[in-house]
Subunit: 251 residues, 4 copies
């Protein structure tokens, strides 16, 4: 029986500023990427988010990002690989301490925003992240874009990896994600989202923008939780996957 | 044979700004309190500092502080006890991750600046810190001002504690530290520093400002590392303690 | 004809995090307190907020706060009066530059949160703020709690002042605001809000919690814009004031 | 008689962390670029620096940088041109307010670090900075690398510009600065520094690394103040220029 994990970002409030609706969205996913105070989050938000995940039985992962609150980690900050390694270590460690106080273990690490993108493309950055994760714990799963440099770096570091794909992003014929600067980059129709989710999960391919089938091997699908109606869409996607015979569970 | 630990703050550089002379001072202490990114420090500074401590064989502890770089953690930020607990957890966790990557363990936790002072006086804050430390690891030693609320909170949480005293601060007849706003609060003469260090370490008392002996039970003495000549003074103090038959070692 | 100004805080988004609904609330007030990057706001949020105020013809003021995003300026940071003076100067200056680029002038300065409260009670802090405002421009109006130390400091500095009162806060018989830690501190009933607004604006007194009338001389009423339904309540209050013969206009 | 301005960065301390030796270096320059809280500086450091400049009669300019303390403004943060315009406005404004409180006027604006470099190369960024400066005041002089996009943008915005050259950086035959990643990029010999300073100031050319003379039209030379011996070198350079008949004065 085919299976897939559903993950979403959470804990991205900061001080007085809320973001997203974690309470509504998290019940529909199996893995949660919790902001660690780099691009978003603060110690008390981290604590509340870990408690919520624990109560829901959702697997908890660290979601490290560039140290840039104002830019929400979406701006690529030029840092040396060794600096990125240290940055990722401290963010994993911060969340780990919160998780330990709540009696749960971290399961995975997924980089955020620009750091995720840089790690997908740049082997030196990918290796820095993999080094940080491996140094912290060989039991952590490294999440990265399917087919990217980060997956390669994770394998080279002896880590378990989880390959991420997207139900709401269009794929190019070469298997890469279509740039958001181009038309038709986002798939907004829920029926097509579900179709792509099932196709990737159960059959290992996506229909590219040119109509050609491209192989996409994935262990987890990214759910975007910060848009209106996100919870309802996540619930529908999960139900649709189950109805199509795809088991939704943590990798 | 009487024994005492010597501790000093370190890793308090930030980005381009150096502080202190850790390389010169750390060889003369037995415990290092490493800034964790709250009042000072950044991931790469933490890494370099942990490496230095490891190379020197100095015990490494977390040095959490209020999240206030500009004020260097010397300003008391009004926070709820639960917020302080979360703050301390994330800072311990950040340093723990760095230490794990370097293959060393954290040994102790000592709060910094205003957080140290608030924890000495305010049981709710002391208990929040003790809760954080105990939740993270029962093997960590909680360092606090001798005779303070933090020591009580550590005991109540079932933690090992290390009681801190000062060779360069004058004591009042009731055993409290003389306020820095009063004259003669600081003991600047090296000979008197050594005398007080020996008296506390070997005999368990200090000569108060009124000339009365007051009991001061201490496991560790604080070395101030950020003043000119700090390394030479630390070396002299350590040598003087040894010459007086006091073993200088980690508690 | 009696007259009153209505003011509200705005521009309190930060980076990716929105706050309040400035577009809905600002049309109903006559003065806007724009966050300046201390407790909230960032350069681009400041620019957009100033543009919105300009388009609406709302008077623009600086809203400086303690440098504490995570605490949203609601935590009192212990700073020397000279530091507070410099802090307020730089925040006024930042907003002034944005306003100048938009071809508008700043009209007033109102401190935020803990800084507002500290300035109401502590003459040294009040004087520091008054010094900053007077040094920047004698044309700026200093807004402060009616009857507070800040109003005194403004007068002493030769500044025009605007005395602030609240339609939704209960007054004690001595004219002070009832502490929020006590019951009945907030007046949530819109009819009673309007009644108090008219009473203060037109007759110069409020009905205290004991039923005794207390004099409250005010030039401006604070509208809270960050609660659900804020815009509708502000519109109703403004209409009610007009219907009662109170002119709503900038002081 | 040929003339040149000497400028240096200053006010780059932050909270407890000092940087540079402004008191020693500033007496030897004619223009000071004061950090504005973006890459370095804080309100009280700004105030002290402006006071020092005023006492020394040194012209004061704003030195805006990317909002990145940890990276000291040396990391290029991807921001939209409009965001950069707002950023520069608020930083100019912050320093302007401090200067106004001290009764002095800002004379120039020089971007810092990565923002300076980006503005030299990227017309959209150069234009954003020029827009900010022109919007704030047509009386401000825009300082930029001689021959760069920023000088062009300043001219297009109708601003007076000051073209900057370097006595301690090697020039390529095309007039560009030799990359620091290449050998011989820095000219460390004081005699050669002076020679290049005189050559640029009095004759309008520099001797490039290949021995070919390249035209370098400059109004100001940059003095690096954060290296050991900076004050003595600055004094010697200034004396040497005077001895060679070059007047050292603000442009």
């Amino acid at each position: 029986m085919p299976a897939i994990d559903l993950n979403c970002d959470c804990g991205e409030s900061f001080g007085p500023w809320p973001m997203g609706d974690d309470t509504a969205v998290l019940p529909h996913v199996t893995s949660a990427n919790v902001a660690c105070g780099g691009h978003a989050g603060d110690p008390t938000t981290m604590r509340q988010t870990v408690r919520l995940c624990k109560a829901l039985g959702v697997a908890i992962g660290a979601h490290p990002g560039y140290p840039d609150m104002q830019g929400f980690g979406r701006r690529s900050i030029p840092m040396a690989p060794a600096e990125i390694e240290d940055l990722v270590l401290t963010q994993i460690g911060a969340l780990h301490a919160i998780a330990r106080a709540e009696g749960v273990e971290l399961r995975h690490v997924k980089a955020h925003g620009a750091l995720y993108n840089d790690a997908a493309r740049t082997p030196l950055i990918a290796q820095a992240i993999a080094r940080a994760v491996a140094a912290f714990s060989q039991d952590l799963v490294l999440v990265g874009l399917a087919g990217s440099a980060l997956i390669d770096a994770g394998h080279a570091a002896g880590l378990r990896v989880a390959r991420e794909a997207f139900a709401d992003r269009a794929y190019e014929p070469d298997g890469s994600l279509r740039s958001r600067s181009l038309p038709d980059a986002m798939i907004t129709d829920p029926a097509r989202n579900l179709q792509q989710a099932i196709s990737i999960s159960a059959r290992g391919f996506a229909l590219s923008v040119t109509g050609i089938q491209v192989p996409v091997q994935a262990d987890t699908l990214c759910i975007h939780g910060d848009t209106p109606g996100a919870a309802a869409r996540a619930a529908a996607l999960r139900a649709g996957l189950a109805a199509a015979g795809v088991e939704v569970r943590t990798y």
